[in-house]
Subunit: 100 residues, 2 copies
DNA sequence: CGAATATATCTATAATCCTCGATATATCGA
DNA sequence: TCGATATATCGAGGATTATAGATATATTCG
């Protein structure tokens, strides 16, 4: 972790919907219905469910999630036509360690 | 800590100079000269020293520091005509706890 | 008091971000 | 293969932020 990467992460965490998404993904089963195809949450939640919960457009949420993945906050796993996103606890931990 | 406050903190941490300032203030004695009047770093560092080190204008740094104080990242102590800023470890810890 | 110094606030402009709709790409199912 | 579904990317308009200079306020000192 360094100032540059920390700043990129900070940018992701500078907007309410994105912070909210990161919070929701702490406990996906509490905030999202189980996916009709994949019954578990092992790889997180698909874009559509997050989009519906956030109430923003599909393109906006897709961009958010991609950016959060780029700076390491999220991990994406593709299953067929679905992209699942879950938290990357390693990066989050490294970031908090950097701040303290 | 809640999503709203966390987002405000995230905004402060979304810009390189501000992240850098928070890092410098971890160990003021390593990054700043001792103040000519106050010889210790108990209350942090004065605006002018931070401004010179950051290489940005006085008004910019003053605004940054004030905003960082408003969301609880920094603590300000006034000594005569100088404003000293130091980290507010309580808020920083609460923020990292919120993220994890 | 008046000058000097340190900081805060105001105002303005350029840069960046937010968010969307439109469109492109990828995958699945009939 | 074609149509439907899920996601990604592009392009644009409005909103916010970055940063500076000018000015205001507060404090010290002669």
């Amino acid at each position: 972790m360094n100032v540059k990467l920390a700043t990129e992460i900070g940018k992701c965490l500078s907007n309410k919907p994105r912070v909210q998404i990161l919070e929701w993904l702490k406990e996906p089963e509490k905030h999202f219905p189980p996916h009709e195809t994949l019954k578990h949450f092992n790889d997180g939640v698909c874009v559509t469910y997050i989009q519906e919960k956030a109430g923003l457009s599909q393109s906006t949420i897709s961009t958010y999630l991609t950016n959060m993945e780029k700076c390491g906050l999220l991990i994406m796993t593709r299953h067929g036509k679905w992209s699942y996103f879950r938290r990357n606890e390693d990066t989050i931990k490294a970031y908090t360690k950097f701040l303290i």
